[in-house]
């Protein structure tokens, strides 16, 4: 019968009894991992399973040394080194298993997350420049109707000509590319301030690191037309999970601090501006 195994709020998957026994012997599983199979009313630690007692590593120096190694590995993969495989593994981990990924994000410096931000922005920049620059180039090289259009933006771009317009679009995206880590510092600073009432476990550095990975992992998709609408909501979920796991704060508290409060503030500002404009017009 299949056995479900979980560790520190993350599911490790479904395994046969033989696989669990072998996993305990090799250190893939530890005795504190929780397990469940059909018919059981609740999850129990593997050490409490009669059938796995014989497979439990002995309390010898070898066995004691194996236990910490089998604990959650440092994640995301980019923290273990900058490489192509770790870059793609990080995107996959953050997008598909954010709970486990941010459980494994240990305290550290700013260097690796900044490097990841730039690494994730590079394909986004190239893709965005190519897509938007190319679109603008083809749009205005196909005919002169756009230059005579009523839209002032279209007219401005049309007056520039297709080559210059596409170059400008690429440069604009390039400026965003260069400044993004700065925006990220400001954004995570604001987020950290909003999280302070909930007594976050980590400092600002952890907030920045969590945000850099949660945002950076989705960056390659952000400049693809229409795909940005699809990944946006999931990116928001990943950010909430990231702060929640890193700072050990309930997800709904993080939601209040990072979504509800900024939304309310934005709406209030919007209403204030509308009222001011109407007052000025009246």
């Amino acid at each position: 019968m299949e056995i479900h195994v979980a560790r520190k709020s993350s599911s490790l998957g479904v395994f046969s009894a033989e696989e669990v026994r072998a996993g305990l012997a090799t250190g893939r599983f530890v005795t504190t991992d929780l397990a469940w199979r059909e018919g059981m009313p609740e999850w129990k630690a593997l050490s409490e399973w009669e059938e796995f007692r014989s497979a439990t590593p002995p309390a010898s120096p070898v066995g004691l040394a194996a236990a910490p190694a089998a604990d959650l590995p440092e994640s995301p993969s980019w923290e273990r080194g900058a490489s192509f495989s770790n870059f793609f593994a990080t995107i996959k981990e953050v997008a598909l298993d954010p709970v486990r990924t941010f459980d494994g994000l240990r305290p550290g410096g700013y260097g690796r997350p900044i490097a990841f931000t730039y690494a994730s922005l590079l394909p986004a920049w190239l893709c965005g420049s190519a897509v938007y620059g190319g679109l603008i180039f083809f749009m205005f090289s196909l005919g002169g109707n756009a230059a005579g259009g009523a839209d002032p933006v279209e007219k401005f771009i049309g007056d520039l000509g297709p080559g210059l317009a596409s170059l400008l679009a690429s440069l604009a995206i390039g400026v965003i590319f260069l400044l993004m880590p700065l925006f990220s510092f400001v954004g995570s600073g604001v987020s950290h301030l909003l999280l302070l009432p909930w007594n976050p476990r980590g400092g600002f550095a952890q907030t920045y690191r969590a945000q850099a990975y949660a945002c950076g992992a989705f960056m390659p998709f952000a400049f693809v037309p229409c795909l940005n609408y699809v990944v946006g909501p999931w990116q928001l979920v990943a950010i909430v999970i990231a702060y929640s796991r890193v700072h050990q704060i309930a997800w709904w508290k993080v939601l209040i601090s990072t979504v509800v409060v900024p939304c309310c503030a934005g709406c209030a500002l919007y209403l204030f501006l509308i009222a001011a404009l109407m007052g000025a017009a009246g």
Binding site: E2, V14, E42, P225, V230
Partner: protein, 141 residues
């Protein structure tokens, strides 16, 4: 193998019985408020330049039809959106039952590696079929 199982939640597990009903409620509220403003989303740039719909095309029209209680037309505009909303509504009803009955068991999808591969392929096939339908139905819309 892919199976739907009932099992207790493990400590710290994401509360799907809270998260997805919340997503449905907040999403419905935002959609309602958005439609009340009368604002429009910007035109789809993919549709504009290729003449073909993207996977999201028709979603807003589908939502408008749902708000206007016209599920048939909503399904034609964007089948996946309607199926997602139906799934969320059913999940919300199940979640309400779980919380009201204080049932410790949770419904979960269980899949081994082969099952996960099968699910991924089925998802890609469904998306391809969905896009083909959109290309047919939204052509010139």
């Amino acid at each position: 193998m892919i199976r739907i199982i009932r099992r207790p939640a493990y400590p710290g597990e994401l509360r799907h019985e809270v998260v997805w009903p919340a997503v449905l409620t907040v999403g419905a509220a935002c959609a309602f408020l958005w439609f009340r403003t009368g604002w429009r989303l910007p035109d789809c740039i993919f549709m504009k330049w290729t003449g073909l719909p993207c996977l999201g095309c028709g979603g807003t029209r589908s939502a408008r039809c749902l708000v206007a209680l016209d599920p048939g037309q909503a399904f034609l505009f964007h089948p996946a959106f309607v199926l997602t909303v139906i799934g969320l509504v059913l999940w919300t009803a199940y979640s309400a039952y779980v919380w009201l009955a204080r049932d410790p068991m949770r419904i979960r999808l269980s899949a081994d590696d082969a099952g996960r591969r099968l699910l991924r392929r089925a998802l890609f096939l469904a998306l391809a079929l969905h896009w083909a339908w959109q290309a047919y139905y939204l052509r010139g819309a």
